[in-house]
Assembly symmetry: C2
Homo-oligomer: 349 residues x 2
């Protein structure tokens, strides 16, 4: 074959536009691309490697002759259209939460659980952005020392809530600096009842709240991590906070290893060689990960590795990654690259 | 007596101006105020209850006839001038880190360890801002259930680094929104070698780094908490992050209680009645603490109380407080109020 016919569902969104960019840079053989979106966005013209591509309205027959469909247009769209794509022979990589916890659907971060791809039945789920960067940072340490418990606090960029949230942060910040009124309409959660100021104001809510007081984002970090690491006994707990940052999530991660024998130097040397990780850990020279440095990069940046001085086998790390790239678009395209490399880019009979 | 002669050292700073405001609102009987600062700021005119007060240059004899001196002009100034004030009969409440860990110097948050005031020898230290709000939130729970371990992540406002840092956040944010260059000169730490962008960019450095990789701010949270709670066995570990917020620190606090029997409802009902605490914990109605709501208030706002679903007696809370008020100026004035109420406003022989 000359290459794959690739469809991007939600091509005009914050993640969709990054999916295009990641495909342009990808080693994946591509015969054609098709940009799909809602009726509202149909007719817009976007580029692919300097060629014009007209955005088409998403309908079931959009997937005729498509080999690979990357979805990032909300859970509802995935639930409705992913089965249509698979039925027509397209392998789906879904960046929404629609199918992530469904049994039999691989939830994949290639650096962690690539082998789960062998079990796919036409659909692979891309994990939540805040989960991905954390497991990329922890997996290399887990391989050597085992992992018992994780306590994470996230400081998440508004771009996780889409382009309208980026715009709101921008407009609201400008208004406040000018002493003008601004009425928030998107953040913290566009579909929830109340909207609050994000400019200069962290918001301890990402997604809606569960009955036990956890936000759904926190729930995702807990349960997706267990699934990706295939370890239901791994203890994970989380607090997710939206902060006035446009792109790249920052996370403080406290973790307890199962085995003894680790120290800071050993953890650093493991992470220095780990796939998808860039170690930035030299506090005396003020080297630690920063959102502005991570933006536009595919890696997860890790630093501030320290021992918990009062609990055995327990440490801190700080990780930062571009939530739209490794947290979404790049991880999806990376999954597609691995499907190709492993000869798995087909819907099984 | 008619009241105290009160001196404010560092009266023109971010904390100093709030000390003035807190004194204006205080029940403390005040006969006179004196505003002291460096030579550079001498001659400026500030108000006290609508009266003009000319800022004077700080010299040892500034403290003649002063009964109470509130210091917030940096550790070096405190080290040099606090002994001069005490020698002249003034009780010193010091908001710098100069004497906090010194044996025999009470480190006081009135809601937690007011009784330590009885031991003062003329000087009482005011704890670090990020520590104060955490111990205000935890102490009521500790009283009932004991406290074994704390893991905290802070998201701290730039005003902790003074008025110049607030200005830098403002100017830098404006420049970035306008697509202009901006060269940071203050944050993360004015005295450290490199300065980084804080606008839209969390910085995992507050104060300089220790040899074990902890920042000095993290070190303060660990050791000050143990001293305030008089419990060297209490495990505390911390990650401190500066975020693009002007005023009010936000903290995610995971904690393990010593005794069993606690649940979310019980912790909430304890905190609802706790001194200095306002419970804002109703996730279903999107009620949780926010920096913009805490700014200008004296309380510590607590919410997001949840069980760690996988570890016994372990919970999360989220606390937010105005770092310039309860974290600094108000706690200092509150200490003075308590010294007065307990008849301790004098330097012991």
């Amino acid at each position: 074959m000359d290459g794959y016919n690739v469809a991007i569902v939600g091509a005009t969104g914050a993640v969709g536009t990054r999916m295009i960019q990641m495909l342009e840079e990808s080693v994946l053989p591509i015969a054609s691309v098709k940009y799909l979106a809602s009726k509202r966005s149909a007719g817009k013209v976007l580029k692919f490697k300097n060629e014009d591509v007209v955005v088409e309205e998403l309908v079931p027959d959009s997937f005729n002759d498509v080999n690979l469909a990357l979805f990032s247009a909300g859970g509802g769209v995935s639930k409705k259209f992913a089965p249509e794509a698979i039925k027509r022979g397209a392998v789906v990589v879904d960046n929404t939460s629609a199918f992530r916890m469904e049994e039999g659907v691989p939830l994949v971060v290639p650096e962690v659980n690539e082998k789960a791809l062998y079990e796919h039945k036409g659909l692979i789920a891309n994990p939540n952005c805040s989960t991905i960067q954390m497991v990329v940072a922890l997996e290399p340490l887990r391989k050597v020392y085992g992992l018992k418990k994780v306590i994470v606090t996230t400081m998440q960029a508004v771009s996780g809530a889409g382009n309208r949230a980026i715009q709101e942060l921008h407009d609201e910040t400008k208004a406040i600096l000018n002493g003008e009124e601004y009425k928030p309409q998107i953040l913290p959660v566009s579909g929830d009842k109340k909207h609050y100021q994000i400019a200069f104001n962290p918001l301890a809510q990402i997604d809606v709240f569960e009955d036990d007081g956890y936000s759904h984002e926190e729930w995702k970090m807990i349960h997706e991590t267990k699934k990706i690491m295939s370890d239901q006994d791994l203890q994970v707990t989380a607090t997710c906070v939206r902060v006035p940052v446009a792109v790249a999530h920052s996370e403080t991660v406290w973790f307890e290893l199962e085995k003894s024998g680790a120290d800071v130097a050993k953890l650093q040397s493991i992470l220095k060689e780990a796939p998808g990780v860039v170690l930035e850990d030299d506090p005396k020279n003020q080297i630690y990960p920063q959102a502005v440095n991570a933006e536009g990069k595919k890696d997860t940046f890790v630093g501030r590795i320290r021992a918990d001085n009062e609990q055995a086998n327990s440490f801190h790390l700080y990780c930062v990654s571009d939530n739209l790239l490794k947290g979404a678009a790049w991880n999806s395209v990376q999954i597609a690259e691995r499907l190709h490399a492993l000869n798995l880019m087909r819907v099984p009979d």
